[in-house]
Amino acid sequence: MRRGLTIVCCGLAAAALAYGAIYFSATAGLRAERRADAPELLWLKQEFKLGDAEFQRISELHAGYLPKCQEMCGRIAARNEELRELLARTNTVTPEIERKLAEVAALRAECQRNMLEHFYAVSRAMPPEEGRRYLDWIQRQTVQGGQTSAATDHEMHQMQ
């Protein structure tokens, strides 16, 4: 009499098991990336199909670039704060504001030049085709205006 009920329960249990198994299998790579010290670099390795030697070289480039980037962040934050203070004090474009805007623009140009140098160095450390793909993507994310994370996701899938 309980055979029907047993089959119903077995079916549901098998479905739940299948769901869990395929879900954990599909997200295993992501979990491994997240456990890493620098998950964003591990993502870069997988996204651009880097070998161990290439990944090692790019990790070194990244580590070398980060202090420069942090120093630049500090300068940008200081200039932005100065500009905010000037903007808060007046309702016209004063010569002082013009000078500060020029400084901010010059700093941005310097920052973008540094970023581009880093991007070119990273792309040269990649296999040629992946290097081109990386440059195309990273330039659109940064010096060409930046994207939202949703757009990033969308673009990465279009690129693949």
């Binding site: 009499m1 119903v8 769901y19 869990g20 599909a26 930046g146 990033t152 990465m156």
Partner: protein, 109 residues
């Protein structure tokens, strides 16, 4: 139809006495009887459902098809959810990479 003066029914009805008081704990007994019948009705539905299942799964092919469909549905749903999660996670890591190298990431100026 009216009852005539000499109708025997009139006499009988006149003799009919309704007891003025209900038996002791009458209401309680009524409710108890109602409650006793309800589980019986529920058990009947459960048993008939089980009987229906027995009939449906009497054929091995039907039982096998049922389990196969559920497993396939589980696999599809798990894969779809896993893919969505993977894409979302990759987008977050991509944004984190850009953020780590671009001082202007998310900046107003």
């Amino acid at each position: 139809m009216s009852i005539q003066e000499n109708d025997p029914w009139r006499e009988r009805l006149g003799e009919w006495k309704i007891p003025q008081t209900l038996p002791p704990r009458f209401k309680e007994q009524v409710w108890r009887r109602i409650e006793q019948r309800e589980p019986a009705a529920r058990t009947g539905a459960w048993e008939s459902w089980q009987g229906w299942l027995e009939n449906i799964f009497a054929r091995k092919a039907v039982a096998l098809a049922y389990v196969t469909v559920l497993v396939a549905a589980g696999l599809t749903a798990g894969y779809a959810r896993g893919q969505t999660q993977e894409q979302r996670g990759n987008a977050q890591l991509a944004a984190r990479y850009v953020q780590s190298i671009d001082p202007y990431y998310g900046s107003q100026f």
